[in-house]
Symmetry: C2
Subunit: 224 residues, 2 copies
DNA sequence: CGGTATTTTGAGCAGTGTCAAAGACGGTGG
DNA sequence: CCACCGTCTTTGACACTGCTCAAAATACCG
């Protein structure tokens, strides 16, 4: 068995799991709830740079970088298993297949970051919000193993705005527009995709960048 | 010695080193020239998602993902050493310190991507261009080991626009504004930082995210 | 030396941001 | 169980950043 030491911990919504500038010595696994990565632009504006859903690993970069360049905060009440960095290092060293899996996870997160750059840099408001919704749905589906009819967005429109580079007011207008186009139904934070194909087309969403089932198998290691 | 097999190859400006969707079986080291990562937004717009300068490693994610989610293209005439994936895998397996160094490189590239998200998502045009110039200068300085008086930008204003989420016309205006503010001098593609502190302040640029000299040392491995 | 790509500039416009206020929801304490 | 309160959502009017289109000037390349 892996026999990994860990500490279970709970954070309230908006609490900090990791702070920018920290010297971090743990890697966490998100057991329940949602988190987001956040970075200050130096003038009070905060940009959301990533999203973590249950089963995601948080802080993999701590294996390689001494300090953290962004905050990680709880979007909802959150339950994590915090593992000492040294334990992760030992495990990766003794189990190359584990190291490989962590590398895959990091590579996918990086790919998601690239897609966010495209989303924010190249698409207009409507497509941006649509794409954001698509990504969230697909990632949640992948985690749960099935396709849900509707999703409870764990974030406010203000936060969606911080993730897409729009204002909360504009996010609201775009959601309304998507509804008017018959692509989504919603009430409060619940979203139902009444026309998934249509939404996907508006967003130009393709799940390729999430690399579903297309990872490189661990090369030549016995997985024991 | 490492004894790594490689093929040296030259690409003309705008040539493709890697194409979106490819199954890639090489990792490249950029020996000379500049490259950029590019992704289509699905509607003809192309967003630049990364920049590679000499000594950068291109395609590290091929170790973990079977297909590539973005293009890598030459910005200038480019000279690379292409290494078979299997050789890199073997080397990482036999030399943990090498694997660790690659992880650091990947983590820093990821950190840069996060900062680009902040730049494009949270800053206005002027700050965006200023930040872009700062990052380019600092990365080039780090590579060459000294601080240059001026920099030859290896890209057109159109391309700067694709990297910052602005139009070429607006990039031009922002460069003019930066000049008018006494922060930069320039002629054609050559840029001189006549007031580095000022530019840095406008951009809210901090080199922390490039993690200069703050990587985690390879844990417990003998480097031989 | 001509051709092509890039830079530069101007004018007008569209998409987003800003500001402000009203309405909806959910939690809390009496 | 209900009233209150704070947060979030929704809406409108208006301002402004950045985009579009177009053309001239400039630099590079064969």
């Amino acid at each position: 068995m892996l026999n990994l030491p860990f500490t279970r911990k709970t954070f309230m919504a908006s609490g900090y799991l990791v702070r920018q500038g920290d010297r971090c010595d743990t890697v966490s696994v998100l057991l329940d709830g949602y988190c987001y990565g956040q970075k200050d632009d130096g003038e009070g504006n905060c940009q959301i740079v990533s999203l973590a859903i249950p089963s995601d690993v948080i802080g993999l970069e701590h294996l390689y970088l001494q300090t953290t360049d962004h905050n990680v905060r709880a979007l909802t009440t959150v339950d994590v298993a915090m593992i000492p960095l040294s334990a992760v290092q030992q495990l990766s060293a003794s189990r190359p297949a584990v190291a490989h899996a962590l590398g895959i996870h990091q590579a996918i997160n990086h790919a998601i970051a690239r897609e966010w750059i495209v989303n924010i840099g190249a698409r207009d408001g409507l497509r941006r919000v649509a794409h954001f919704l698509c990504e969230f749905a697909v990632r949640c589906d992948a985690w749960r193993g099935d396709t849900a009819a509707g999703y409870e967005l764990p974030m406010s429109q203000e936060q969606i705005g911080q993730a897409t580079g729009l204002t909360a007011v504009h996010v609201n207008r775009m959601l309304k527009t998507l509804h008017a186009a018959g692509l989504i139904e919603r009430s409060w934070r619940n979203v139902v995709f009444s026309n998934w194909e249509g939404l996907r087309d508006v967003a130009c969403f393709s799940s390729d960048y999430l690399h579903p089932g297309r990872q490189v198998p661990a090369p030549g290691y016995r997985t024991v």
